[in-house]
Amino acid sequence: MKSLLHRFREYAALTLILAALIILFGSLSNRFLTAATFSSIANEIPTLTLVATGMTLVLITGGIDLSVGSVLALAAAVLGVLLVDWHWPLFFAGLVAVMVGVAAGAFNGLICVKLRVPSFIVTLGTLEMTRGLAYLTTRSQVKYLEGKVDVLARLVAGLPITPTAVLAVLVVIAAQFMLSRAVIGRKMIALGTNEAATQLAGISTAPIKMFVFAASGALAGLASLCQTARLGASDPNGSVGLELSAIAAAVIGGTSLAGGKGSAIRTFIGVLIIATLEAGLAQVGATEPMKRLVTGAVIVLAVVADSLRKAAS
């Protein structure tokens, strides 16, 4: 009972912000509180949810993965070529897209671990390299997928929800389970809290780093399926700046950029806040500059609210 109350408190500040946004937009626009908005958001968020979940894992270990947007674009490019030019079935093409993400993530992890380069720098390099590879893969062209991936973004019969949204929620639950119940999750938190102490307690930190970067890459690869399904196309120019949205979602959710702290569920609420803002602002007719101004302000507000909550308890 006590722990239930404790849990509610942990999510209270974030949930209140989300609720306030929904009520605000609901009163500003009579089209906001409709099934159409809901399914539009549900269709919008899987990409960011997957990438932000991977980002949360990396941030918890004290690292950062700036390459996710470009890795997603590369995976999407490979997906496009395999589906359109090579006529592969979706399942195998999707599998390869995920493997592309894993490979990019493993590369990040390997350089961090073996050459002891800070992940900020390694993944900044990978961001450029994978973007270049994405252009090379598609010869800088947008591949129209002619309905080959749409099935993932179509509503499941009778429900206002898509397979990609289900996938995203399952990934969030799995990541949260790993962080709170699995030994590797505990080791990730320990590594992010104090690397020297973790090593001196006999824990090898290199495999943990490899794991989180590979996981972040894999989720970016998986997110390429959500992205292409929603757009119906694979665009090598796509997802520029996605890493910043992912970091924003994680930070709104209370993940520490210094490492050692974070939760997949809270990051998911962060994603919901960002998505609600975007959908709501679009409906009340806000211009692009206005949207960015408000979104930025909400990020700061959410983090301040969260730190006030912690100071109070």
């Binding site: 119940r181 699995a182 030994v183 590797i184 999750g185 505990r186 080791k187 938190i189 320990a190 809290t193 104090n194 020297a196 102490a197 973790t198 090593q199 001196l200 307690a201 006999g202 824990i203 090898s204 050692g260 702290k261």
Partner: protein, 411 residues
């Protein structure tokens, strides 16, 4: 002037010299005046050939030390305090430094020179004060005072301390270290510890004791070493391999290297015993409760962050975590530093009990009485080597202190 070098490596020599008050005009650094003043200051320490615009990082340690000396002199001081200034210097650089100190003395500047190197004191000092436990115990003219007399003063009154009588018989050799070399500090360390035995590692700060433990544990790189655990030779390249082989290390700095400060007591106490795929909450709680009970940790809840505990209770957690994976050899580096008296007693009691249980224990400590009351044997390190081993009936504070200086005496 401090023992540790204090230069900012990316700034020029001149900037380092006058950092507290750079000559300036309208808030901008006056380069010409800076250069002139720097040349003048450098000339005073015999570095007139050095270009003041050289980045400090390009200087050798000895030159950096002289630059610091120049900076100290540039303040037009009457009194110069040097804290172990030769710690990082080569013999030649030391000579240069001594020449300069000699010149300053003739210019009427007073010098306080802090060192544990007897030969240096004899070379440059007139009088010597001996400090012990934060008190001045004597001030003597150096000529006419023997080194033995000084060592005796430093060791303090004769306090014949022996370990408490116990029934245990040391068993088989649990850890054997042969000719360990690591970094620039550990030069040649060989020792053995048996099951059921507590070995003390004594010596001066900088003798290489911490580095020895870290090298054995795989935390620092070592070479040419032969480490055997229960007679089986193994190569330990990282701490995880050491733990797998049954070693445990309680590091010197518990906040930097021991604890996950913001995490709970439970997370900290079980950190060395994370096995399998899933966490088992009930087992974690039970294991944490055992650590808390065995070491009498004072806390409100196992979910309390480690940062909220007192130093003594924090240390108990770091030691207690090694009860769980059933380590065979415990390496403890200053286990009672900054720990209150009741916690010290709890730690001593635990170490004796663990030895009774057949664990082999190595304790590094700078407190001789602590080692003398706890250990079955004390090995003294000096300048990267083990210079002598003592059994309880052989040791006195004076003999142990004398051995600790042995590596520094010029023969």
């Amino acid at each position: 002037m401090l023992q540790e070098l204090n230069v900012l490596p990316t700034l020029s020599v001149a900037e380092n010299l006058f950092l507290p008050e750079l000559p300036s005009r309208f808030g901008l650094v006056n380069r010409r005046a800076l250069r002139a003043k720097a040349q003048e200051a450098l000339a005073r320490v015999g570095l007139e050939h050095l270009n003041p615009n050289t980045p400090a990082a390009l200087l050798g340690v000895g030159q950096q030390q002289l630059v610091e000396l120049a900076a100290a002199l540039a303040e037009k001081c009457r009194l110069l305090i040097l804290d172990e200034p030769t710690a990082a210097l080569t013999a030649h650089e030391t000579e240069t430094l001594f020449e300069k100190i000699h010149e300053l003395r003739q210019q009427g500047i007073s010098v306080i020179y802090i060192s544990h190197r007897m030969d240096e004191l004899r070379r440059i000092c007139d009088r010597v004060s001996v400090l012990r436990d934060g008190q001045r115990v004597a001030t003597l003219p150096l000529s006419g005072t023997s080194t033995q007399e000084l060592v005796k003063l430093m060791a303090g009154r004769e306090m014949p301390t022996r370990p408490m009588p116990h029934g245990r018989q040391p068993g088989a050799v649990a850890l054997s270290v042969r000719q360990l070399r690591a970094g620039s500090v550990v030069r040649d360390v060989s020792f053995e510890v048996r099951s059921g035995e507590i070995l003390g590692l004594s010596g001066l700060v900088g003798a290489g004791r911490t580095e020895t433990l870290r090298a054995i544990f795989g935390a620092d790189r070592s070479d040419d070493s032969a480490i055997a655990i229960h007679g089986r030779k193994i190569r330990i390249r990282r701490p995880s391999e050491a733990v797998a082989a049954g070693l445990a290390l309680v590091p010197e700095d518990r906040k930097q290297d021991g604890l996950l400060l913001p995490q709970s007591i439970r997370v900290n106490a079980t950190l060395a015993d994370l096995k399998g795929t899933l966490l088992r909450r009930e087992e974690e709680l039970a294991a944490t409760a055992r650590v808390i009970e065995r070491l009498a940790v004072k806390c409100d809840s196992v979910e309390q962050p480690a940062s909220t505990l007192s130093g003594g209770n924090q240390q108990k957690i770091v030691i207690g975590r090694w009860l769980l994976p059933d380590s065979k050899v415990l390496l403890l580096d200053e286990p009672t530093r900054g720990v209150d008296v009741p916690a010290k007693e709890a730690i001593y009691k635990l170490l004796r009990e663990l030895a009774d249980d057949g664990k082999a224990i190595v304790v590094v400590s700078s407190e001789l009485p602590e080692l003398m009351s706890l250990c079955d044997r004390i090995a003294v390190m000096s300048a990267g080597r083990i210079v002598q081993e003592f059994l309880p009936h052989e040791w006195t504070q004076e003999k142990l202190t004398e051995a600790a200086f042995r590596g520094h005496l010029t023969s």
